[in-house]
């Protein structure tokens, strides 16, 4: 079969099983778009900004476990995609971004729409390629998919000069099924000796805690994690990226940890004697100040990326391997062992955790006539039966969603954890809805974040992706305001979202439904109405308490047991003290 470069790209995507291609045309990719026009297997989604393409492909990848694929033009097309590429990089999401490039002979001449895409993307990709030879195009694309989806996944950019895609130059094409790269061989099996040592340490624990992260979800290891945690009967906490791997409503789950984690999870981290980290990277939002991190603990760390081990926190038993494989190996040792897990050994520890839980660190005070942001998320949970795909933007609303919407399944909670990219939520929701048209998909956002990629409302209409936008509108850049309240004596510098648009009219202008809610009594019905409109994109503009804060909070330089707690938790603590339950 003789194909042109453009035809090879499209044919390869088809052979690779790619169903959706998120992109935006331009001069350098015109040949590819022409090839795209001549087939209907690979569905192209025309976004309104290249950042939207990368986030949509990213959301698609997070929800499905399949790689997300984008096609953008050279120059501004490539640079607009960078934020989305960096977002995927920080959260280890498999993404393939094909960027057009000016013709080979023009490279380096400051040609129209020329940018060094390989150079610009280098610090935020797992790897990137510049295709210089048409004969290597298919092989390079295969390498890109292989590198993006194996080991610790990540985004890969393939930069293709326009002459490589010329329609009149045809070469034989065959789908490259197997690829081997001498310089890239990720290891998935954990070292058996290390695993044995880890199991022995775990069984000797009096105050154990399991801390799991996004790696478990990426590796499809939720089932293995569940079996492992239930077999041991130990408490588990999960990172923002790990939510859903272990069910959020299970009593063994003691909540998210870190900067805005539960009181009990953070206290348990501080007091534990054995910590096992699975597919988590000891991010600074998790550890608090590293010098006071888990002072009494021996630490086991399972990670597919050797560079993540002992990067910020020194560990005692490192295990390099995939979460799924290593958990299977560990569980086998546990099950085959004649020694059953002694549940009584951790009884005191569980009692301590239950006592911390009694303090209800997420409790918040309600005010007459004002919607609390937490209530909005609780309503969202009720109305969707806890079964929706929830994407989010970045800020207070993101933390509220993580805190108040317990996820029982992996890949349901989709947010930009590492890079913290405002504008991620809406395009990501679009990507998820394309993958799962029959499921409820909601984007929890704020009036700041939503405006960063609001143009994608137009794409939602064109491709019929009826997502629900849950806009927690407090007329502030809430998280920045909270920090200014706590650390800058309430000098609210440039966080007031003045002259906001009328979001209802805006939604309507894009051809969608807009609903504004101000009264707490209307919230439930409005939420129900939004989800009842199955085939419409609904923008729910929820006017919330202006100065609500996210609690608990570990400020910078503080340890897990030095959280700022909410005024309500302080009251609960005082009551417990008066009853003699706290010394």
């Amino acid at each position: 079969m003789e194909l042109s470069g453009s035809e090879i790209i499209i044919r390869f995507l088809k052979d690779e099983g790619v169903e959706h291609l998120f992109g935006y045309p331009g001069g350098a990719v015109l040949h590819i778009y022409d090839a795209l026009h001549k087939q209907d297997t690979v569905k192209h989604i025309l976004v309104r900004h290249e950042q939207g393409a990368t986030h949509a492909a990213d959301g698609y990848a997070r929800a499905t476990g399949k790689p997300g694929v984008c096609l953008v033009t050279s120059g501004p097309g490539a640079t607009n995609a960078i934020t989305g590429i960096a977002t995927a990089y920080m959260d280890s999401i498999p993404l393939i971004v094909i960027t057009g490039q000016v013709p080979s002979h023009a490279i380096g001449s400051d040609a129209f729409q020329e940018v060094d895409a390989v150079g610009v993307s280098r610090p935020c990709v797992k790897h990137n390629f510049l295709v210089k030879d048409l004969n290597k195009l298919a092989e390079t694309l295969k390498k890109a998919f292989y590198v993006a989806t194996t080991g610790r996944p990540g985004p890969v950019v393939v930069d293709i000069p326009k002459d490589i895609t010329a329609p009149h130059i045809k070469i034989p094409y065959e789908y490259p099924k197997l690829i081997s790269m001498r310089s890239y061989n990720p290891n998935v099996n954990g070292h058996p000796k290390q695993i044995k040592r880890a199991v022995e340490l775990l069984l000797s624990a009096k105050r154990p805690i399991i801390y799991s992260g996004g790696g478990v979800i990426l590796d499809g290891a939720s089932e293995q994690l569940r079996d492992f945690v239930r077999h041991l009967g130990y408490p588990i906490t999960q990172t923002l990226m790990g939510l859903g791997a272990f069910p959020g409503t299970d009593p063994q789950f003691i909540g998210m940890l870190g900067m805005h984690g539960t009181y009990e999870a953070n206290m348990a981290m501080h007091d534990c004697d054995v910590l096992i980290a699975i597919g988590a990277r000891f991010d600074d939002r998790i550890t608090g100040v590293t010098s006071k991190f888990c002072p009494y603990a021996q630490i086991i760390h399972i990670d597919i990326d050797p560079a993540s081990i002992s990067k910020t926190i020194n560990v005692d038993i490192p295990i390099v391997g995939g979460a799924k494989q290593v958990l299977t190996q560990m569980l086998k040792i546990l099950v085959d062992s004649d020694q059953p897990v002694d549940k009584s050994a951790t009884q005191d520890w569980w009692n301590k955790i239950k006592f911390w839980q009694k303090q209800k660190s997420f409790a918040y005070e309600k005010k007459d006539g004002v919607i609390q942001p937490q209530t909005a998320i609780e309503e969202l949970y009720k109305v969707t039966g806890g079964d929706a795909y929830i994407t989010s933007d970045v800020g207070q609303h993101q933390m509220y969603a993580a805190q108040f919407y317990p996820f029982d399944e992996p890949r349901r909670w989709i947010n930009s954890g590492g890079l913290g990219t405002m504008g991620f939520g809406l395009p990501a929701a679009m990507g998820v809805k394309l993958a799962f048209p029959d499921k409820d998909v909601a984007c929890v956002t704020g009036e700041g974040s939503i405006q960063m990629c609001i143009q994608e409302l137009s794409t939602c209409l064109q491709y019929d992706t009826p997502v629900k936008i849950i806009n927690l509108n407090n007329r502030y850049l809430g998280m920045v305001r909270q920090w200014q309240e706590f650390f800058y004596e309430k000098r609210y510098s440039h966080v007031y979202m003045d002259s906001l648009p009328d979001f209802v009219k805006l939604a309507e202008a894009y051809g969608h439904v807009g609903i504004k809610v101000e009264d707490p009594n209307d919230l439930h019905d409005a939420m129900k109405q939004a989800f009842a409109l199955k085939d419409r994109t609904v923008f729910l503009d929820i006017i919330t308490d202006r100065e609500a804060n996210v609690y608990p909070m570990i400020s910078s330089g503080k340890a897990h047991n030095e959280m700022d707690i909410s005024p309500l938790q302080q009251k609960i603590q005082a009551t417990l003290k008066s009853k003699g339950e706290i010394a």
Binding site: V118, R122, V147, M181, R182, S183, A307
Partner: protein
């Protein structure tokens, strides 16, 4: 502590910038970096001299290994290895006294004079970094016109080798 790390890298465009970019992005030190292709045209051999605590060095080697273009890597520091650096020095050499002095000093260091004019000598010298430093110190500072150093290269002693 000073470390000497030797790498085999895919001889591809951009491989060098990935490596130097890694050092600048993560705030690691590079004292010197040398690179050239090997007998196998698809591979480049690189020697990096870097400094840092054990923890930083561990991260450097792990992060380098993570780069898709890096085929193999070894930190020679703890092992038995040979390290050499090459230097060109152009010095003023005017009048009998000064010319004789430069020649004498170069003989002591087993350096070679590789270019001569009425007023200058160009000298080639190979050795450890400290030997090159010593030569520069011995040569009167005012006499030096320019110095070109290659950066260190390393190779393991004995039968051990960094190959694929």
């Amino acid at each position: 502590m000073r470390h000497i790390v030797s790498l085999l890298v895919e001889n591809e465009a951009g491989a060098l910038s990935r490596i130097s970019g890694l050092f600048s992005a993560r705030g690691y030190n590079i004292e010197s970096l040398t690179v050239a292709t090997t007998e196998d045209q698809t591979l480049s051999r690189m020697t990096i001299i870097t400094t840092g605590s054990d923890r930083i060095i561990e991260q450097i080697t792990k992060q380098l290994n993570k780069l898709v273009d890096v085929v193999k890597l070894q930190d020679f520091t703890e092992g038995n290895f040979i390290e050499r650096e090459m230097m060109f020095v152009k010095v003023k050499a005017q009048g009998e006294g000064q010319r004789a002095e430069v020649k004498r000093l170069s003989d002591i260091f087993r350096a070679r004079i590789i270019d001569v004019t009425d007023t200058t000598f160009c000298i080639e010298l190979t050795g450890s970094g400290s030997k090159l430093d010593a030569y520069i110190r011995a040569m009167h500072e005012n006499n030096i016109i320019e110095v070109v150093r290659s950066g260190s290269m390393g190779i393991l002693r004995g039968e051990k080798a960094l190959t694929i």
